[in-house]
Amino acid sequence: MPESPISVSCLTTKFDYADFKAAAAKAAVRKSEKIILKVTGTVLILAAFLLKAFVYGNFYQDFIYAAMAAVGVIIGCFYDTIVLYAVRRHALSYFTANSERFIAQTTEFSEETITFQTERYTAVLPYEMLYKAYEDARVFIIYTGINEMKFIPKRAMNESECTRIHNILETKLQEKYQQEGAR
C-alpha cells in the first residue's frame, strides 16, 4: 500500500535562509577543491618551517615565513569556517533587506512527484526532472537546475518526516542525492 504524502509548511526565517545559503555553499564545493585547499595549506606550513630551519633569515624574512604559516593554517584548517561565516552574514543581511520576498511555502513529497506551493508559485515535479538534492543537518535543498533551488528547513518537520523525506530522495535520486552531516 502506498504511503501517504509528506507535507511540510513553513515561513522562512532569516536563520533558515542563512542555513540554506551555508548548505548551498557547502554543496557547491567539490571534493577535489577541498583536497587542493588542504594540500596547499599543508605545503605552505611545511615550506614556512623548512625555510625557517634551513635558510638564514633576517627579521623581515622571518616575518614572511610566519605569514606563510599563518596563511597555510587559514587555508588548510579554517577556510570552510571563514567562508561559511561570510556566507551566513551576507544571507542574514540580504534577508533583512528583502524580507518581503520570503513567503510561506508548502512542499509535499509523494512517491512519484514533489509539489511546491506558495501563493505565487505552484509546481508538481516528477523526481526525474530534478537536477539534484542535498541534505545537511538543518535543511533539504532541492535543485531544479544548477542555479535554481528550493529549500525546506528541517525545523518544520518531525524526526519521522525527516527520515521519510531522506529515504524518498535517496531512493528516487540515487547518485543525484548528496548528504552531509545529516542528523
Binding site: 520576498r101 501563493e119 505565487r120 508559485y121 505552484t122 509546481a123 508538481v124 515535479l125 516528477p126 526532472m129 537536477y131 531544479t144 537546475g145 544548477i146 542555479n147 535554481e148
Partner: protein
C-alpha cells in the same frame, strides 16, 4: 493565482525556449548589469591601459636601458582585451547553455500571459506569477524581450519569433511603460 488586477491579459505568448536562445538571453542579461559588464567597455579599458603604458615608454627609456617593463604591461593589457572581447562572451554563453541543460523545466513549452501589473508563466509542470516590480530590468533585443531578476526564476524570455509586428509593438509598449527607466533596447 491571486492578482490585484482583474482585467484580461495584454497578450498571451506560447513558446519553447531553446539552448541557443537561452544562452543569448543570458548573455544579454549579464551585459546589461552595468556598463562595465559589456565586452566593449572591458576591452576598451584594457586598450586604453595599453595606450597609456605605451605613452610612458620615452619616459621609461630615459631612466632604464631596456623597455621590458612597459612591453610586458602592453602585452598583458592587449591579452586581457582579447580575453574580454573574444573569449569571455563565449564562456558566458557556454555556461548559460550548461545552466539550460541542467534545468529541464526551461525546455518545457510555456504559455506566458502578460497582464498590466504582472506576468503568469505556465508549463505542464509549474505555474508562477511574477509582478513587474519584482524584476530588476527589461532588455528588448531584436529577437526577444529579456526580463531579469525574477523571484522564482531569474530570467524571463519572451521570444519575438512567431509574434506578429502588432503583438511585438504592443508588448514592447507595455513593457516600456511597466519598466520605465529600467527598460533598455539593445542591438538596434
Amino acid at each position: 493565482m491571486p492578482t490585484f488586477y482583474e482585467g484580461g491579459p495584454v497578450d498571451t505568448v506560447e513558446q519553447t525556449v531553446g539552448p541557443d536562445e537561452y544562452a543569448a538571453a543570458y548573455y544579454t542579461a549579464q551585459s546589461a548589469v552595468s556598463p562595465i559588464h559589456t565586452k566593449w567597455v572591458r576591452a576598451g579599458i584594457c586598450l586604453s591601459a595599453a595606450i597609456v603604458i605605451a605613452s610612458f615608454i620615452p619616459f621609461y627609456r630615459a631612466r632604464f636601458f631596456t623597455c621590458w617593463g612597459p612591453a610586458c604591461g602592453i602585452v598583458l593589457a592587449l591579452a586581457l582585451a582579447f580575453l574580454f572581447f573574444f573569449i569571455q562572451p563565449n564562456d558566458i554563453r557556454k555556461w548559460a547553455a550548461e545552466l539550460y541543460r541542467s534545468n529541464r523545466l526551461l525546455a518545457l513549452p510555456q504559455k506566458i500571459e502578460i497582464f498590466r501589473d504582472s506576468v503568469v508563466i505556465q508549463s505542464s509542470c509549474e505555474k508562477m506569477l511574477e509582478y513587474w516590480t519584482d524584476f530588476s530590468k527589461c532588455i528588448e533585443t531584436p529577437s526577444a524581450f529579456v526580463v531579469t531578476g525574477g523571484r522564482e526564476r531569474d530570467l524571463l524570455i519572451i521570444k519575438k519569433q512567431g509574434l506578429t509586428n502588432e503583438q511585438i509593438e504592443k508588448i514592447s509598449a507595455h513593457l516600456a511603460g511597466a519598466f520605465a527607466s529600467r527598460y533598455l533596447k539593445s542591438g538596434r
